[in-house]
Amino acid sequence: MTLDWAFLLITAVNLVAVIGLLLNLGGVLTWVERKQAAVMANRIGANRCYIPVPVPAKAPGGGWKVRWSKRFTLVGLFHAIADGMKMLTKEDYTPPFVNRFIYNLAPFIAFVTVFATFAVIPFGGPVEPARLLDGPLLSGIGALDGARAWLAGFFGDGSGAARTFRLQLADLDIGVLYVFAVSGTGVFAAALAGWSSNNKFSLLGGLRASAQMISYEVALGLSVIGLFLIHGTVDLGRIVDQQQSLWMWGIVLQPHMFFLFLAANIAENKRIPFDMPEGESELVAGYFTEYSAMKMGMFMMSEFVAIAVIAGLVTTLFFGGYHVPFLYDDGFHFGESVVPLSHLTVVVLRLASFTLKVLVLCWFQILIRWTLPKFRYDQVMRLGWKMLLPISLANLVLTAGIAQIVNAR
């Protein structure tokens, strides 16, 4: 068996992109959360961290000296760095009464499952590496000829034809099933952390988290089946391919299910208005009460990274993934008129389109977090079982009927 070096290189690039995107987005979202809170409470907010900038000033006895009076705050973005530094320099204390193995395992489960969920989400359009350096501007530059020849050779299939890759870490045909399987494993993190901590608040938080997460998993799975029977596949790459036209976007086909899916996802992520497992006012910090330093930070980070993953999933299913309206592989098509674009431009535009949609949906989740008051626990369970589940069942029957009528015509 020969190694497919081109595939390995693409995988490595995708891996670095996914890890980099999620880690940085997780950090930036802590700042977005604070800034959004400040904006909505009419405060300035997140302006304490700064880097002092030297400013020359007149000394009293004549001459000049340096004053460190100017503060470079970068609209508060240093707060994310300060957070990380603080958690890294705190004592990682393991209480003597915990079950050590499970106590240490739980943060890893929380962290890894969130990252692993992103593996099947396509974050960019198909890339044909051999054509990346073509185009009206770049093809004139002779210095790039060597690189162009190398790309064509490395990413060719040996017979001269160029290969096309998808910007997606793992192109699995089970797609969404993988997403639900892996994100469902996240329940273990909360349940095990709560049980192993040997603290009554942790135990209650862990139980509440597991009961809530499994309740909403049913509605989560049911709410999007309508989309899959329209698309006829659960492969996320194929689903995005079929959303080329604006009329096939999930938000147009099933607008009500977008809200249901997002609500179920926020409940899965245990954020306000569904934050009973953490319930600061009654359970201290819920299932991670006994955690300190970076282990607690891993729970926090997995929550913020999960916001980004949810945004990516909702983008893929409901907002056309990486597609830009009217943009096809060779440029913009407006009816009969075509604006041709180079391959590189299309790839970059689609990456930007995906990132922009993800950012807007992240912001939307944080907006919800600062807008709604939290539910009572019985209200959460009632919403999950008596509202979301029957609505998604009814939607499935209705969608199946309409799809069959449209199909028959």
Binding site: L88, F97, I214, M294, W385
Partner: protein, 126 residues
């Protein structure tokens, strides 16, 4: 034509990488953070946290309310039904009206189950 790689190797790579990032963060924390022996610290550091009051008991892994198990059983039931619907949804276009009739028959059993649980108060949180 876009290639379909049905490889699970990248998934494994992502899991290993995420695990590595987490381990690295804990490693840096172990290097930078202070290390004190628990016995040298205040005595409250050895107790489970209970908002500053003296803990009522030291072993908190006790039996829990049965209502959590009821939720778990309902979850297993309904989530399995959801999983059964996925392969049906993928081939639905080819099944035609027969597929729709199948869905109605399946939904009947699901709805009967849901209605029974609802009437019996299994969905109430008391």
């Amino acid at each position: 034509m876009v290639e379909q790689h049905n490889h699970y190797l990248p998934v494994l790579a992502l899991v290993v990488a995420a695990f590595g990032v987490a381990a690295a963060m804990l490693g840096i924390n172990a290097l930078l953070g202070p290390k004190r022996r628990a016995a040298d610290g205040p005595a409250v550091k050895l107790e489970p946290f209970e908002c500053g009051s003296v803990p009522i008991q030291l072993d908190n892994r006790r039996r829990v309310s049965v209502k959590f198990y009821l939720v778990a059983i309902l979850f297993v039931m309904f989530d399995l039904e959801v999983v059964l619907l996925y392969p049906w949804a993928v081939v639905y276009r080819d099944l035609g009206w027969f597929g729709f009739a199948e869905l109605l028959a399946f939904m009947l059993s699901v709805v009967v189950g849901l209605a029974y649980a609802w009437r019996k108060g299994g969905l109430e949180w008391r």
